[in-house]
């Protein structure tokens, strides 16, 4: 059973703020999601079978240097940046 405390804990780990009035609704939704996942888990198939559905192994890359991207490209999607760094503001 998913509890309000579970939702609060997950919110904490995910760095999400959940308003008090949304907790009950989210607890119910999360229970439905878990039930759905349980339905899949209960399907008659072994976990091994899902573990590696393409039956692939040992896909490797050789240890050869490929040029990196220009710094400007790397930082393009950063919400904030400064001095060629991604900038994370302290929200407190």
């Amino acid at each position: 059973m998913v509890t309000r405390e579970d939702v609060e804990n997950i919110a904490l780990l995910s760095k999400l703020f959940v308003p008090e009035e949304e907790l009950d609704g989210l607890t119910k939704s999360m229970q439905e999601i878990i039930d759905f996942a349980d339905a899949i888990n209960n399907a008659p198939a072994s976990a091994e079978g899902f573990d590696n559905i393409n039956n692939l192994s040992n896909v490797f890359r050789e240890d050869e240097v490929v040029p990196s991207y220009p710094v400007a490209e790397i930082l393009k999607n950063a919400p904030e940046q400064a001095e060629d760094h991604f900038l994370v503001r302290n929200r407190e």
Binding site: D51, L56, N58, F60, D63, V71, I74, E83, H85
Partner: protein
């Protein structure tokens, strides 16, 4: 009450592959911020990580170096946590099926520190905290690491120091990492608890994160041991928590409450396929492994009669042992070679950094030539020593300093003549010796050695001089 220290280590070592673990960006240390990055290592959606083959090879070598078992099947997992040093909000690591299982590091007291496993994973980015904000550089993000997880087998600070030193030595030896603690290519998390001496049950442990020098590991452990003992003695309880060590004050303080493993919500990474290390590949790598320092040290002792302490010095760095191996080829007394290296040559390479590189002016072939001259009786020890000094000064060979006339011994009649001359020419030393100053004889022997250009047998000369004076 006496308390026993119990400790286990988690050691991160950066592998010296050319590229990152899942993309072709360089692993070079430093560089302009975010200049060694691509969409894979900054975790953009829709990118696909592909495992660097060399990372698997290096990890297998690490496993073989510590007598671990190479898993037949290994898998990559996602370790979820939300912090700016990880762009994807998860680190690709191994939990359920690590590459190496078991193994050990043997200490000089004969105890084996067992290893639980070694896994491969990606390093996180570097965070710079400034004016309350955080600046993120992902150059280090995706650099390959191995994490070596020991069992809680360490029982003292000395054992902990030796464990780290041995690990560092063997990983450098097999060439998978430079293990520079000051540059962060080797970092330790130290788990530590105490229990009443004789007790079997473990106490509650704390974990000191990110230790980057052996000195600080020792300081932090000493502080934490005292703190935990004091807590228990005063009726308190140790709380399981993660600590940081403050270099300036020498104390530990809590970092954050310890997250349980399930909080990381580990699960199989669907982007990365199963790793099956073929057995023939493992055997090929095993065959390529150099003789390990511990094996070499034992062989030097058993085969060449080199004292344990000297054998340890010769095997501390791979280059020194390779130098020694070349220099002893075909010589009668490897111990003489060892003495030359540890004595005269070490005086020229004083720092640990220099010893590791071991770039010596005299090539091992030239040292070999000098020792062969000594072996064959053509020159005596004194001459060999002074010649080695000249060779170290100039990088030239022994025969540049020793002429044919220096070679060969001094026969009995020549020795007698030299001794007579020494006695006749140094009446003061003779008087001193007669009046009981034993040491005065050294001056007379020195005179003989000098006039024979080091060719005389010093022991025979001393006996002959005593005979002359006392007769």
């Amino acid at each position: 009450m006496n308390y026993e220290l119990v400790s286990g280590f988690e050691t991160h070592i950066e592998l010296s592959t050319k590229t990152k673990i899942f993309c072709g960006c360089t692993t070079q240390f430093g560089g302009e911020p975010n200049s060694h990055c691509c969409p894979v290592c900054i975790g953009l959606p829709g990118t696909l990580p592909v495992l660097n083959k060399e990372v698997v090879r290096f990890a297998v070598k690490a496993g073989l170096a510590v007598h671990g078992k190479i898993a037949e099947v290994a898998k990559m997992d996602r370790k979820n946590y939300c912090y700016p040093d990880l762009a994807k909000a998860y680190q690709i690591s191994q939990l359920y099926a690590p590459l190496i299982i078991g193994g050990y590091i043997e200490l000089s007291n004969g105890r084996k520190i067992r290893l639980h496993h070694i896994h491969i994973e990606e390093d996180a980015g570097k965070l710079i905290h400034q004016h309350g904000d955080t600046y993120v550089d992902y150059n280090r993000g995706g650099v390959p690491l191995i994490e070596i997880v020991s069992e809680p087998d360490i029982r003292s600070i000395d054992e902990a120091k030796e464990y780290v030193e041995k690990l560092q030595q063997v990983m450098r030896w097999v060439g998978i990492s430079d293990c520079k603690m000051q540059e962060g290519s080797m970092r330790c998390d130290v788990n530590i608890s105490v229990r009443p001496a004789g007790s079997e049950a473990f106490g509650t442990r704390t974990e000191i994160k990110n230790m980057n020098s052996i000195t600080n590991i020792a300081r932090a452990m000493a502080y934490e041991y005292e703190r935990q003992v004091d807590l228990l003695e005063s009726g308190g309880k140790v709380i399981q928590e993660t600590l940081r060590f403050d270099d300036a004050s020498g104390t530990t303080s809590p970092m954050r409450s310890k997250e349980d493993a399930h909080d990381y919500r580990y699960f199989r990474d669907p982007d990365l396929v199963t790793i099956n290390v073929p057995r023939d590949e493992v055997e090929r790598l095993r065959a390529e492994m150099p003789e390990l320092p511990a094996e070499k040290r034992e062989r030097y002792e058993a085969e060449y009669g080199i004292p344990e302490k000297d054998a340890a010095l010769l095997t501390k760095y791979r280059r020194i042992s390779e130098y020694f191996d070349k220099a002893i080829e075909g010589v009668k007394s490897p111990k003489t070679v060892s003495n030359f290296i540890i004595g005269q040559i070490f005086r020229r390479v004083e720092t640990e950094a220099d010893k590791e590189i071991f770039d010596v002016a005299v090539t091992p072939e030239r040292l070999n030539e000098l020792v062969r001259l000594l072996d064959s009786g053509k020159i005596r020890n004194n001459l060999a020593k002074s010649t080695l000094e000249k060779m170290l000064d100039t990088g030239k060979g022994a025969l540049d300093f020793i002429s044919e006339s220096d070679m060969g011994g001094v026969d009995d009649s020549a020795l007698l003549a030299l001794c007579q001359a020494a006695v006749a020419g140094n009446p003061k030393a003779v008087e001193d010796f007669k009046s009981g100053k034993e040491k005065a004889i050294k001056a007379l022997v020195g005179n003989v050695m000098k006039n024979s250009r080091g060719k005389a047998d010093a022991v025979a000369a001393e006996a002959k001089i005593k005979e002359l004076i006392l007769s």
